[in-house]
Subunit: 204 residues, 2 copies
DNA sequence: ACGATTGTTTACTATTTAGTAAACTACAAG
DNA sequence: CTTGTAGTTTACTAAATAGTAAACAATCGT
């Protein structure tokens, strides 16, 4: 009942785009409103602050894009090491796309925002932590499956997953700073090498 | 000739401290001046912008702290794999110190600032790129020495160094976001594991 | 079609911030 | 001890920004 609107969704998308391309700190509420084509009064009707918007934007992005992607790429119907390889290939491809569009490798918005705001904004920090933790679990599960199948040596899968994730996010960060996809191109083989993967040539 | 001053140095130090603890975007020139105990007029006497100060601060930090540390830890008089292990242990220790002081793991200022500003400020991006490149060379050289001594399998040392560096910076980023040293604690062994290091037990 | 409700717009205030100009001060060298 | 130079301080402007209040507009359910 009452008036209908997609302003909230437009704000969520505009915010994520701007923050991803620039940074959390440098993006103003006015800029988000302008990009979304929404007046500031409406912004404050839906969100109480930039921080609250960012939290909502990160969560919305996971729910509407991220989750499906990870579910597909880490499908149990794919061999465990192929999941990891395919995932990193996908990362390379999407970052290449972004570089074409924006003239810049953009990296991972979640990690970037998290690193930028973690000492300043606890609600963002917690949301980022939550989303990153979800992602690490996909790695962990694939590693465990690989261990069960003998393609990765045994040992603490949770630790290996954290490690792999650090390699992943570190590579994305480097790629952003250097604006160079090279760090991501070598990621599939580096990742499998890091896991001590046996016979790392299923599909190629 | 003329009046003497250490205001410039005080500004450089205050800037790095604030940016490290918070972020580049959120730190204002006024805040830097206040922390340094220097008036804004003096700031603009020495620097033309926050960006210029940040570039100078990163370079000064490398010249006055960073370089000596890396030179010592990567001394050729230490076995190559021990250099890497000792370096990561040192990283853990210093981040633990920072956490005690600030209540927060702070990670690497250079990488954080780089990731935050790379799409916005080319001069900072280039300076960060330069400093990170210097650091990667220490890894590369240690890896090459390890390969020559047979403690790391042969293969593109530059690529391995990049990879190791991504693992390193990714771990620091995670540690900052989660405010958890665990990511750094496992780094020495993870790093050697990643390199496929043989007999990874020289000192412990 | 009407009224409660949901969302929009405008116009505003108060604050923070970058940046400047010019008077002022300390000091080193001659 | 005096003079030029290097550095400092103050007080200011202009712009950007967050946040608010209240009038206004659309539309859903009845």
């Amino acid at each position: 009942m009452g008036r209908t609107s997609n302003a909230k969704e437009k704000l969520l998308e505009a915010a994520l785009d701007l923050i991803w391309e620039r940074s959390y700190g440098v993006v103003t509420i006015d800029a988000i409103c302008e990009k979304a084509g929404v007046k500031k009064g409406s912004f404050y009707y839906f969100f109480e602050s930039k921080s609250a918007l960012a939290v909502a934007a990160l969560e919305a992005d996971w729910n509407e894009c991220g989750k499906q992607k990870w579910d597909t790429l880490f499908s149990a119907s794919v061999a465990p090491l192929d999941r990891i390889r395919d995932f990193f290939k996908h990362v390379y491809d999407s970052q290449a796309e972004l570089q074409k569009e924006h003239g810049q490798v953009l990296g991972c918005p979640c990690f970037s925002v998290g690193s930028e705001t973690s000492t300043q904004d606890e609600t963002i920090r917690l949301k980022v932590q939550e989303i990153l933790q979800r992602q690490i679990r996909y790695f962990e599960s694939a590693i465990r499956d690989a261990q069960a199948g003998g393609s990765v040596p045994p040992g603490d899968a949770a630790a290996k997953a954290k490690c792999l994730f650090a390699l992943f996010e570190g590579s994305l960060g480097q790629a952003r700073i250097q604006n160079d996809l090279e760090f991501l191109r070598i990621l599939p083989e580096s990742a499998l090498g890091m896991l001590g993967a046996a016979a790392a040539h299923t599909s190629s």
